[in-house]
């Protein structure tokens, strides 16, 4: 009984959905603030993403002529549900209680659902800009998904397990995987930037070329939920990379009172996800947008080959049983 109650508290409150919302809005604020300060501007106050969410929820929902209202209402909710579910399997204060073998694969597939929703939304809005944006989103998914999956696969190969929490445990006993697989780390960061559709990969929502891509016909509640989906994807993505490469919320040694362990792990989680956010924001500030055919070229020539090289190295290391 208490087990079930504790699980409910874990899922709904902390470190579940309530903490997820708060942290997603906080990371969104930090992202905008860091970007603004790097550009010599002031940036928004800390309550800005929350205020944006409340404002968008209250705005009128405009249906373009001939668009299927039910589908348009449902797709953002499906995307939001997918990323919220993916969050539950990522370790926040220690092992996730819902962990099972293969939850890495489940998380990766759930994180791809928002891109498909953007494509569907783009295709179903009867708008040429949204159609182009949707097509670009799916094309970009094709290009970065292979190296991104490969780069997140190599920690699993080295740790010999398919569960994120057990990879974190493996790193607790050995060494952070970023030192053993630096190429994979860089490919994973680039892949995450492409998944979150941030500069230099914000091709599907290029403001100066196709107005807002798939987001053009979203208004009101739909826009609020899709925006929240993007912000939560940022949290899940950075938490995933922090768990797989940077050791996750685990100290190399165990502290004596159990609750202190949890608190220390939580602080480490915050610290590592903030570090990943700093790197992602710096990439966003330092570059401009590239074209989809240029992304095709560099994606397959450099990023995919780097990921395959990394997989090759890990297989060789495993074969030689260098790491026990």
């Amino acid at each position: 009984m208490t087990d079930a109650l504790l699980l409910l508290v874990y899922i709904l409150l902390f470190p579940g959905f309530f903490f997820l919302f708060v942290y997603a809005l906080f990371l969104s604020y930090l992202d905008r603030k860091i970007v603004a300060r790097m550009q010599s501007r002031v940036g928004p106050p800390f309550y800005q993403p929350f205020a944006d969410l409340i404002k968008m929820l209250g705005k009128e929902v405009i249906d373009p002529d001939g668009v299927d209202r039910q589908v348009f209402n449902t797709i953002p909710l499906v995307a939001l549900a997918a990323v919220m579910t993916a969050y539950l399997y990522v370790p926040v204060t220690g092992y996730s209680p819902l962990a099972f073998q293969g939850d890495l694969v489940v998380v990766l597939y759930l994180m791809a659902i928002p891109t498909f929703s953007l494509f569907l939304l783009g295709w179903l809005s009867r708008n040429i800009f949204s159609a182009i944006g949707g097509i670009r989103a799916v094309t970009q998914l094709f290009i970065y998904e292979v190296p991104f999956f490969l780069a997140l696969l190599t920690p699993a190969i080295m740790a010999g397990t398919w569960s994120i929490s057990e990879i974190v445990a493996w790193q607790q006993h050995n060494i952070w995987l970023v030192f053993l697989q630096p190429i994979g780390f860089i490919v994973a960061l680039i892949g995450l930037q492409a998944k979150l559709e941030r500069t230099p990969f914000d091709i599907p929502e290029a403001e100066t070329e196709i107005v807002a891509g798939s987001w053009t016909e979203l208004t009101g509640r739909r826009l609020a939920f899709m925006h929240l989906t993007t912000e939560i994807s940022l949290v899940v993505g950075s938490a995933l990379i922090a768990a797989l490469f940077l050791g996750g919320p685990m100290l190399p040694w165990a502290l004596s009172p159990l609750w202190l362990n949890g608190v220390a792990g939580f602080c480490l989680f915050l610290f590592k996800t903030l570090a990943v956010l700093l790197v992602l924001s710096s990439i966003k500030v330092a570059t401009g947008r590239i074209r989809i055919d240029q992304l095709n070229e560099i994606g397959w020539k450099y990023i995919a080959s780097a990921a395959m090289v990394q997989v090759g190295i890990v297989l060789v290391i495993n074969y030689l049983r260098v790491i026990p």
């Binding site: 300060r37 790097m38 550009q39 010599s40 501007r41 710096s282």
Partner: protein
């Protein structure tokens, strides 16, 4: 490389933004601001009204004795300007013989009545 160096330098320094209204930009002395008429100097020659490109200056009846170049002139009219329609070009100031109409270096502020006048 220079982009990265500058980004991180900016992250740690003060932003360039001026936080209006707490901080204000100093207005230079030659700024063309609010149009102002000085009642003691105007001799009612109507040059400002003729020269104004936006045609917002009308002359209204107003009698007064003015000292101008050691003579006493009895003026018959003086200008009335629509404050928010003035484009602040300064032609009236340039062509006024006495310096009675000029642009102060204050801001004209804002209002909701387009026809409000300044005399």
């Amino acid at each position: 490389m220079s982009v990265l160096a500058e980004m991180f330098f900016n992250l740690l320094s003060k932003p360039f933004t001026i936080l209006y209204p707490k901080e204000k930009v100093p207005i230079p002395g030659a700024f063309r601001g609010r149009i102002t008429i000085s009642d003691e100097k105007c001799i009612g020659c109507s040059k400002c009204s003729l020269v104004c490109p936006a045609q917002v200056i009308t002359m209204v009846q107003n009698e007064r004795e003015i000292e101008f170049k050691d003579k006493t002139i009895k003026r018959k009219k003086k200008p009335q300007v629509k404050l928010f329609k003035c484009i602040r070009c300064g032609l009236c100031e340039r062509h006024c013989p006495t310096g009675a109409i000029y642009l102060k270096n204050e801001l004209s502020d804002s209002g909701t009545d387009r026809e409000v006048v300044v005399t």
